[in-house]
């Protein structure tokens, strides 16, 4: 898959949440808080995403003892670039949506 493909919501929010290093539960809480309670990452989904992100080098686990649950994760420069690219993509989506859909909200409710 090319770098221009959309990130999943979970991946995008995980990257955003890691402005400071966090452990898994911290990521869950931060994402829920950032999204106003809308996005609640479940443990299995988060675990899989963290593994994929580590493999891709977008985040790294900070050195430390113990299992994944006790590890903290840090965003890498590559991860930051991926989040920035996604932001540009989302801005394009939002701008086009606003242009086309502005004023049509009443129609949608009819």
């Amino acid at each position: 898959m090319g770098e221009s493909t959309a990130l999943t919501e979970a991946v995008y929010y995980i990257l955003l949440s890691l402005q400071t290093p966090l452990h898994g539960y911290g990521i869950m809480q931060r994402v829920e808080q950032m999204s106003g309670g809308r996005v609640r990452l479940a443990a299995g989904t988060l675990y899989g995403a963290l593994n994929s992100l580590c493999e891709k080098g977008w985040i790294v686990a900070l050195p430390g003892e113990g299992s994944r649950g006790k590890k903290q994760y840090r965003l890498t420069a590559e991860g930051l670039r991926a989040a920035q690219a996604e932001l540009r993509r989302l801005q394009e989506l939002a701008a086009n949506g606003e242009r086309v859909l502005r004023g049509t909200e009443q129609e949608g409710q009819a």
Binding site: R40, A42, G48, R68
Partner: protein, 181 residues
Amino acid sequence: MNKKVYKWFWAWQADEEEAWLAEMARQGHALAGVGYAAYEFEPCAPGAYIVRLELLDALPCTARGRDYIEFVESTGAEYLGSVLRWAYFRKKAGEGGFDLFSDLDSRIRHLERIYWLLVALTVMLAANLCNVAAMLARFPQEMLLRAGAAVEILLLYLFLRGLRTIRRKRNALAAERALHE
């Protein structure tokens, strides 16, 4: 007093099993432990717990399995035990919902994990049935072989139906995934 219930669910009935465990919790019996076709419940306030089960990627006794279980525990869930690769977790219902998967992709991956486990078991069963059939050809009067073959044919039929159930669930999610996450 803890309550012990013996009940059997097939691998393709994980949703039904979760629904049954939710119904038990609603009636004031929180799952506290598991065994082979056995469930131990402890008294709880009606609906106090949400119970989830998952076919793990690795056996719970391996490093990878333990790592995952500890990760889920670190998010505030309680690990209740496991049967083979099936792990059981619960969380207090008041703590705002409990799910192991929060997007379609991970739900699809979980169903595929169940699917391939069933495929492996079905192949083993079919291979064994071939052996039994070959032996039956040599000893057609052997009652034990006949009974064995009958049981295996029945199991094979059940497994194939189970595979179809899982495939349908997976495809329904994949169709949804084509539209949104």
